[in-house]
C-alpha cells in the first residue's frame, strides 16, 4: 500500500515542481518583455557578439553535415522515382523549414544556453546579483533582457549561416554520392525553393531563441548551492531547453500550417 502511495507522492511532487517551473518561466518571460524598452544597449551588443562568435563554428559544422545527411536520406527515394531533378528540393526543403532550425536550436542551447545558465548561476552563488540590486541596478535591465534580445537575434542570424552551410554540405554530398554538379544543384534549388521556405525556418529560429533565452535565464537565476548547484542548474537548463524547442516547434508548425 505504501508503495502505491509512494508512487502517487512522487508523481505529485514532480507535477508540482513542473507547474512551479512553468509558472516561473512565464513570470520571467513577462518581466523580460516589460524590461525590453529600457534595456542596456551596451550589454546587448556585447552579448550578441559573444553568442554569435561562440556558436558560429559549431553551427556551421553541424549544418554542413546535416545537409549531407538529408541528401543521403532523400537519394534512395529520388533514385527510385527516377526524379533526380527533385533531389535539391527534397534535401533542402525539410532542412530549411524544419531540421535546420531544430538542430541549430539544439546546438545553440547546448553551447550558448548552457553557458548562460552557468554564468548567471555563478553570479548568483557569488552574490554578484545581490550586489547589483544594492547598486540600484535592476538585474533584468543589465543582464536578462539584453541576453534575451541577443539570443533571438543571434538564432536568426546563425540560422542564415547554418542554412548556407547546409546547402554547401548538401551540394558536396550530392556531387560525391550522386554525381550532381554543384551549379546544377543551385539552379534546381533556385527554381524549387521559395523565400517562404527560408522565412518560415527563420521565424521558427526566432521563437526557439526566445525559448532558450527564457529557460536558460530562469535556471541560472534559480541556482543555489555553490559549484555543484551551478552544474545542476545547467543540467536542468539544457533538458528544459530541448523540451521547449520541441514544444515551440509544434506550436509554430501547427499555427503556420506548414
Amino acid at each position: 500500500m505504501s508503495g502505491i502511495r509512494g508512487i502517487v507522492a512522487a508523481v505529485g511532487r514532480t507535477a508540482l515542481q513542473f507547474a512551479a517551473d512553468l509558472g516561473g518561466l512565464a513570470i520571467l518571460f513577462l518581466r523580460v518583455l516589460r524590461t525590453i524598452p529600457r534595456l542596456d544597449i551596451y550589454e546587448l551588443i556585447r552579448a550578441a557578439e559573444r553568442f554569435g562568435w561562440q556558436s558560429a563554428p559549431i553551427i556551421g559544422l553541424t549544418a554542413f553535415f546535416t545537409g549531407g545527411i538529408m541528401v543521403m536520406q532523400s537519394l534512395p527515394y529520388v533514385e527510385q522515382l527516377q526524379a533526380m531533378r527533385l533531389l535539391p528540393w527534397a534535401a533542402s526543403f525539410a532542412t530549411l523549414r524544419e531540421v535546420g532550425p531544430v538542430l541549430i536550436g539544439l546546438m545553440f542551447s547546448g553551447r550558448v544556453g548552457s553557458n548562460n545558465t552557468a554564468e548567471l548561476g555563478t553570479m548568483v552563488v557569488t552574490e554578484q546579483v545581490d550586489a547589483l540590486r544594492l547598486l540600484a541596478i535592476d538585474p533584468y535591465d543589465l543582464l536578462i533582457a539584453p541576453r534575451f534580445v541577443a539570443m533571438v537575434a543571434m538564432m536568426v542570424c546563425l540560422t542564415i549561416v547554418g542554412d548556407a552551410g547546409a546547402v554547401i554540405g548538401a551540394m558536396v554530398t550530392a556531387r560525391a554520392m550522386a554525381g550532381m554538379e554543384m551549379f546544377q544543384f543551385i539552379q534546381l534549388m533556385r527554381e524549387q525553393i521559395h523565400l517562404a521556405d527560408l522565412a518560415s525556418g527563420l521565424v521558427k529560429s526566432g521563437f526557439f531563441g526566445a525559448g532558450i533565452a527564457v529557460v536558460s535565464c530562469y535556471y541560472g537565476l534559480a541556482t543555489s548551492g555553490g559549484a555543484v548547484g551551478v552544474g545542476r542548474a545547467v543540467n536542468a537548463s539544457v533538458v528544459a531547453s530541448a523540451v521547449s524547442i520541441v514544444v515551440i516547434d509544434f506550436a509554430v508548425t501547427a499555427v503556420m500550417g506548414g
Binding site: I58, F65, I69, M72, P76, G110, A118, A227, A242
Partner: protein, 253 residues
Amino acid sequence: MNAVIRRIARESRDFTALVIQAYVLLFRLRMRRAVVVRQAFELGNRSVVFIATTMSFIGLIMVLQSGYQAGRLIGDYSLLGPGYIQLLVREFAPTIGAMMLATRIGAGIAAELGSMTVTEQIDALRLCGAEPVEELVVPRLAACLVMVPALIILAGLFAEIAGMFAARLVFNVPFATFFELRLLTSGDVIVGAVKAMLFGAVIPLVSAFAGLSATRGSEGVGQATTRAVIHTSISIIFLDFAVNVLLYPVYAR
C-alpha cells in the same frame, strides 16, 4: 593558434586513452552488477518521460510538415506512412533521439562526475586504491550500451504513434494505411541499430570525459556540462553522417 592545436591534440590523446581503458575493462567484465543496474535505472528509466514527450512532439511535427507538403504537391497521402516509418527507423529516431538523450543523460553524467571532480572526491577515490574509470565510467558505459538503444526504440515507437494520430486527426489517414511496413527493409533496421549502438557508446564516454576534466572554481562544473552536451551532439551528427556514407549501399538497395 598553436596553443589551441596543442590543447586539442592533448585532449584527443587523453580521450582516446579513456575509451581504450573503458572498453578493455568492459570486455573483461570488470564491473559491479549492482552499480550497473542502478546506473541503468538512473539513466534509462528516468529518461522515459523525457523521451516520450519530446519524440511525440517531433513525430507530430514531422507528419504535419510532410502531410501539408504531400497534400499540396501530390494530393495523395498513401506514401506518407510508409516513408515516415522508414525515415524514422534509419535516421530520425536514432539521431534526434540521441541528441535528446545527449542533453538528458550526457549533461547528467557530466554534472555528476564534474561535481565529484571539483569537490576532490575523485582524488579521494584514487587514494583509496580505486580506479575512477573502473568505478565510475565503465558502469555508465555498460548501462548506456543497453539503455540508449532501448530508449531509441522507445523514441521511435512514440514518434510513430504520435505520427499515426496526427495523420488520422489532421489528414484523415486511417491507422492501418499509415502504419505500413512495405517500404521498410532489413537494411534500414541494420543502419538504425548500428547508429543506436554507436550513440550508446559515444554519449557516456564523451560526457564522462568532460566531467572528469572539470576545472576548479564555481564555473568548472557548468562548463564541463556545456562541453559534454556540445561535444556529444557534434559527435552524434558526425557519426550519423559517416554511417550514412559508409552504409549507403546497405539501405539504398
